[in-house]
Symmetry: D3
Subunit: 192 residues, 6 copies
Amino acid sequence: MTQTTQAPVSRFPVPALKDMPEDIRTRIETVQEKSGFIPNVFLTLAHRPDEFRAFFAYHDTLMEKPGNLTKAEREMIVVATSAANQCQYCVIAHGAILRIRAKNPLIADQVATNYRKADLSPRQKAMLDFAMKVSQSAQQVGEADFDVLKSHGFNEDDIWDMAGISAFFGMSNRLANVTSMRPNDEFYALGR
Amino acid sequence: MTQTTQAPVSRFPVPALKDMPEDIRTRIETVQEKSGFIPNVFLTLAHRPDEFRAFFAYHDTLMEKPGNLTKAEREMIVVATSAANQCQYCVIAHGAILRIRAKNPLIADQVATNYRKADLSPRQKAMLDFAMKVSQSAQQVGEADFDVLKSHGFNEDDIWDMAGISAFFGMSNRLANVTSMRPNDEFYALGR
Amino acid sequence: MTQTTQAPVSRFPVPALKDMPEDIRTRIETVQEKSGFIPNVFLTLAHRPDEFRAFFAYHDTLMEKPGNLTKAEREMIVVATSAANQCQYCVIAHGAILRIRAKNPLIADQVATNYRKADLSPRQKAMLDFAMKVSQSAQQVGEADFDVLKSHGFNEDDIWDMAGISAFFGMSNRLANVTSMRPNDEFYALGR
Amino acid sequence: MTQTTQAPVSRFPVPALKDMPEDIRTRIETVQEKSGFIPNVFLTLAHRPDEFRAFFAYHDTLMEKPGNLTKAEREMIVVATSAANQCQYCVIAHGAILRIRAKNPLIADQVATNYRKADLSPRQKAMLDFAMKVSQSAQQVGEADFDVLKSHGFNEDDIWDMAGISAFFGMSNRLANVTSMRPNDEFYALGR
Amino acid sequence: MTQTTQAPVSRFPVPALKDMPEDIRTRIETVQEKSGFIPNVFLTLAHRPDEFRAFFAYHDTLMEKPGNLTKAEREMIVVATSAANQCQYCVIAHGAILRIRAKNPLIADQVATNYRKADLSPRQKAMLDFAMKVSQSAQQVGEADFDVLKSHGFNEDDIWDMAGISAFFGMSNRLANVTSMRPNDEFYALGR
Amino acid sequence: MTQTTQAPVSRFPVPALKDMPEDIRTRIETVQEKSGFIPNVFLTLAHRPDEFRAFFAYHDTLMEKPGNLTKAEREMIVVATSAANQCQYCVIAHGAILRIRAKNPLIADQVATNYRKADLSPRQKAMLDFAMKVSQSAQQVGEADFDVLKSHGFNEDDIWDMAGISAFFGMSNRLANVTSMRPNDEFYALGR
């Protein structure tokens, strides 16, 4: 596997840690300490410090704030929609996070390939049906979609969360595909 | 036209200005002073203050920072990709901004309907071809796309900007469609 | 905006008024008198006099004969389906007519971008759902579609009218895209 | 096969010959004399006399006027595009006419199924590539398409003809699918 | 029609009968005796003897074993799905077989063009709806599809048969398109 | 992970080993000895012994016979096309085999998500471009595709192999989706 270790993180320039603005370097060092490595999305976006800051502020509020959707469920949304958008970085990195959050080594590959056949509850499949509609044909979303979700016990704020996560990672998927953002080798085996 | 003035800004709750956090209220009041009205995207997103802050931080860095793409060109990207995503708010609001920035009352409707037939330079059409590919099939973007753009005089940073704007408004389009965010009546005639 | 005034009406030759057959010249002069300008569709199709005659005979019977669909509703069908077909001429010219017929300066841009979010009645949205299905996947139209329309109070003749208008402008959209038929500058601001 | 002979011509009412306007009845009787039967498109459209007149005026000018495209080539366009639109009436009726015009019992089924593999010249395949693009994505037609056609010896008027036929039958296909217009039993074996 | 008789059976090499393995030559000679000609699929696949053997073993078990689906119904599945995949060989060869099995000279062209408008029972249309879903979007098949089929009287084994035939001919369609497998001239008129 | 161990292998009945025909039971026992477990495709298809035999005969000739495509390259085709068809069983089971054959723990997830960004040679990407075209739009395959492959050093037999594998697994993907064939838990971690 040594052939891949030198592969570029991004097709755009990646600044050295020491050349990054203080706040960005600190954020990255904190992640590195916690994870044992620097996920490449941090290095790729550091090329654009203001976009880096806005991106992670948005990311954190969607993925980490309190709410009815569990952290594993939020990651399911990321994995399912990122697979539809063929985003290698997001499927592989968030697949790892999903395995860890769900304490389930199988779930990420199932959701990435065909969430309709994954080991999920009907409620979770309804959540993913909606997140996928937001991702692939949001112009057709209407009150009937809200009604289905409510019949599964979701409330209005849960629905905003689903839409927000699907929409945000739709952006992220496009950036990752344009930058050829490479998933770190470490993600592949995490949580298996 | 009085029938439309009471139509809801968003299908989600919109807080009163006085109940908003200080920084958000200030930002909105500044916009209101400058524009003469409050664009509904500010009111819609104020339902989620942290998302509001991240959204506009991201928006501003993409749309207002210095760079080779003119402000009108950035708006062209917004209008073309938002039309492909059938986002009423973004096409109508940013169509108005495009007319103003380009000092051209015709250009927004042309770009929204079929940018290939709009009064644009070949360089601008190449920019929109790329922004549309990022919007609709980013998984297929590759070095050949970069080469075409460079043959039109764009550099790597311009390309990142195009991708960033296309991806960000792809997110915005999905949020607007899910929230049924209504374009303000004022936008329709601006710049005509 | 002076840059656009010399843009060609059509990528095919456009005959001089004086060289046109009598009946065609008369028709055009009548329109010009009424509208104050000659819509470019008349000039573009005058390149083919027999097609001109058949086209406008068809157009007039669909758009101007008595029937339950109001003239504004017929124009809604034109605008929604022409937007789906990305026809600049039809969206911009018939958008103007729609604004005038509906006495509503907002409706055309709403319908063109996403009719599902436009200020329309449920009955009008059902009409546009059907017209769009005829436009985009007529092979799947069946009795169930007729039943939905009848539940909104439409009769068989109304349904034929919707189908006819959608189908006719599908033809017109394709001709306009192939000829690069240019919307007259006058249309953009009409009825706003 | 007796089960099919009573199947309705159209899901809409079909007037009796004797109740039709004189000119329409005459046209139909002329066709009947020549063909030995009345093609159902005449009966279906007779429900709407003005549309009948405009439809056949348009049809005749496109399909029967002089020009570089042979009559068989015009029918190839009809068959290929109608198959893409899944129009039973047009594929089966014009398939018969194509077999007769081309004096080739195989060509219609080949063109209907996959014209790229049919017994056609490269020039004819280029014609069908263009007609199919007009039929399926006219918004993307541009000068590059014209250049390809010209490299095969087509001139500007030929290209208009191709576009006109493709666009007109796109309308016809939609009408036939909405009316469930039934191909006459006679067409199936003609020219085989 | 002499121009077509020398057209190649396949764009890949076709072995001479005498050079084929004994079992394959025997199979082909049996077919030839029965049909009066050698269907080109036998000659095309003889280029790969092991694939030939597996292909026809699979074919025979799906198409000829006992079961509730009539032989004509199995051919309907082949014709409808092969038309969706634009496979000239399968539509034309199995169209002939369908005409013969159904003793109906019209049915094959109807099913190939738009099975929704063909002279079929509602039960048969439900069968084709399912076979088409397997062919075009099998990833979305679920228990709801099984329920619809059961409401028409199909059992689980019938459903497996439909899926098997649709899937097998999906493979066959792709092989025929890649090899440019030519339908024998004899098929076009059989059973008309 | 105990929650998944009782999940059904297939939504159709699975026979007990002892009730299977001798040859099928022997084949399965051989696989089990070699792999340490019985891949569920064997159990699922054992419901239909004749289809089982034909399926594996076809599979073996495509995947195991000598040829220029390496075994890892054949598995790349399976993984890329099965991901496009959203087939959970094939992506997960053949992903494991690909990791083993390629001695590369990263390659399967990369190829499944977006092969264009995977650690592959240009030659291998050309192979997958073709296999994906066969899988998704075989009707458009033509000599130009063969020319591209030859420019990468592939010969005619290699191309047949690519097409055969893509087409065969297209069938397999559809069967797995209809039967809800479950990937064995063992596959997920193999070769990582």
